[in-house]
């Protein structure tokens, strides 16, 4: 059982470049989330999707976009990366909006120079 798979594990990116972080889950969970984790700031929600075909903005959505074409995949795109987007990004999912437990991926460490 893979759970949630994130790719890449780590990436160094030049400012201004476009980058897509991939997230795939095999648990048939309806709700999916993208968080960023920064030292001293904790986990902050970027975007979420309650079910395939719908997305919503979290606490820090600026500079990021998401899509949810199917149940399994929830990619996060940085259209034009900036150094302040240097962070560790976590994808997470849960069975449904009304259920509690979140399952996290192992994270994607992104450095924007």
């Amino acid at each position: 059982i893979a759970g949630i798979t994130q790719a890449p594990t780590s990436q160094i990116l030049a400012a201004g470049r476009r980058m897509t972080l991939r997230c795939t889950q095999d648990m048939r969970h309806n709700a999916m989330y993208w968080y960023r984790q920064d030292l001293g700031l904790g986990l902050r929600l970027i975007h979420y999707s309650n079910t395939a075909g719908t997305t919503g903005k979290g606490e820090v959505p600026d500079g990021y976009s998401v899509s949810r074409a199917n149940t399994d995949d929830f990619p996060l795109t940085l259209a034009s990366a900036v150094p302040s987007q240097t962070s560790v990004y976590f994808c997470a999912s849960k069975l449904a909006v009304s259920t509690g437990e979140l399952f996290f991926g192992e994270g994607s460490r992104l450095t924007v120079l």
Binding site: G40, G42, L43, E101, G107
Partner: protein
């Protein structure tokens, strides 16, 4: 604005003692409160969930309390072990949306 505070960034205790971590919140009425464990370089892992109408929940050596009047949760690890060393995150979930808001975490170190 909604705010979650975990009382200390770091907590150092001796093996065998009980670790107590605190989570306080303001401007929020959560339906659920959750605790997660995070090891360095890994994603958070779910530990326990407690509902607003529950006072206490236990799982093996773990115990969580939830006081909606004080707006506080306490997380206890009894008979702590060095393997319990990790960062512990508190998270709140509202009634309508299902999105979790996380605290910044408390790094627990259990010394042998």
């Amino acid at each position: 604005s909604q705010k979650i505070e975990q009382n200390s960034e770091a907590l150092n205790i001796q093996e065998g003692k009980t670790a107590t971590l605190t989570c306080n919140y303001t401007n929020y009425s959560p339906a659920y409160l959750q605790w997660y464990r995070q090891d360095p370089g890994r994603g958070p892992v779910f530990l326990l969930l407690i509902r607003e109408n529950e006072k206490e929940k236990r799982k093996e050596r773990l115990k969580v309390t939830f006081d909606t009047t004080l707006k506080q949760s306490l997380f206890h690890i009894t008979a702590s072990q060095p393997a319990d060393s990790a960062t512990y995150l508190c998270a709140l979930e509202g009634r309508s949306q299902g999105n979790l808001i996380f605290g910044k975490g408390t790094k627990l170190s259990v010394k042998p």
